[in-house]
Symmetry: C2
Subunit: 187 residues, 2 copies
DNA sequence: CGCCGAGTTGAACTGAATCAAGAAACGTGG
DNA sequence: CCACGTTTCTTGATTCAGTTCAACTCGGCG
């Protein structure tokens, strides 16, 4: 839990009061490998901070499995659309390794936001950051070739390549498995 | 100004205290058509709410002018990356029509965020919304054809098509002017 | 041992880009 | 208000990155 609180605290200072309230609202979960922790059609009730392990967020498009996001240690993952709208999720979260997660429920988060301005600030900053990374991703998809995107991922998160099947990587990069295979073979 | 405050208030309730502080921090600007209001290399010091008019946010990529975003009445526009990081902006904002804008400076916004929890909440909700729309845009670029994206824009913002040169529309959709012209001619 | 999912490789196809040239609209000055 | 140059838009021919379809390889595991 300290890991998560530290993570938040670095973003913007939290009072002791906030931190102690926060600790009381957090739940830890342990999941085995290849478990679905958010099903399609289910409302996403938690945001998860990854203490240990690796997960992915994905959805189906024409029956094809498309990875949207990978979360490793020190990342947050959730079905954001569903979580904030409290509507059924199109997207699915599954573990790709055994995971220890620190979770906060929607109700608790709302309550804490209400009560603690400093926490809401952290939330605001995280959201702006998420916006900016989506922007970068959009840019990469628009202007960088499949090869470039692969190399950027390789530079940014070399570990993911080791820990995840190539099919997931390919759809995350917005290319087919076949293209990814060709990219890897050349050079 | 009331337009802007109303816009914010709908997102989440603001106290009278917040509102009166807010009014004192807002500035209104009038710009003629085709004026640059954020230059490349300049730090973006304001977020603008469009009371009247039309603007675009764009940047250069290989010497080509790429439109990132259009803002019409009741939209917010700014060089977000630059604004929040307070670093020089890659991106440029220019008016495409004569505009009345309501602006808030970075310093004022920070001050207000500090003082008013309810306003920071509005900021948080706006940021999550911005994230979600980027997500949709990414999805469209990845999976929808040029034609589909054009038709979606047409459905969503028919007025923009009337008010903006096609070249800007094309780069916003992530296609060339040439392709857009072909799409429009068929059907 | 044989099956099965994951990855590779080859051949054909396609949406959109690029290159290039012409037509239409626009505005600025004489 | 017309003439000229400039920008905007259209149209045609060609090219290319990446997809699709399909067959094949490989390593693991019941």
């Amino acid at each position: 839990m300290d890991n998560f609180i530290n993570y938040l605290q670095v973003i913007s200072k939290l009072s002791d009061d906030t931190k102690s309230d926060l600790v009381n609202c957090l739940t830890t979960f342990e999941f085995a490998k290849n478990k679905t922790i958010l099903k399609q059609g289910q409302v996403c009730n938690y945001l998860y901070f990854v203490d240990k392990g690796l997960l992915r967020l994905f959805y189906y498009r024409d029956g094809k499995d498309i990875t949207d996001y990978f979360a490793t240690e020190q990342n947050i993952i959730g079905g954001i659309d569903s979580f904030f709208s409290q509507k059924p999720s199109e997207k699915i979260i599954e573990t790709l390794e055994a995971c220890s997660l620190i979770a906060i429920s929607f109700d608790n988060l709302e309550k804490l936001y209400q009560k603690h301005h400093d926490l809401e600030r952290v939330g605001r900053i995280l959201s702006v950051g998420a916006f900016l990374s989506m922007q970068e991703r959009l840019f990469a998809i628009q202007f960088h070739s499949a090869k470039q995107r692969y190399q950027e991922l390789l530079a940014r998160s070399p570990d993911i390549l080791q820990r995840v099947p190539l099919g997931h990587i390919a759809s995350y990069l917005g290319i087919t498995q076949v293209t990814l295979s060709r990219i890897r073979s050349q050079k």
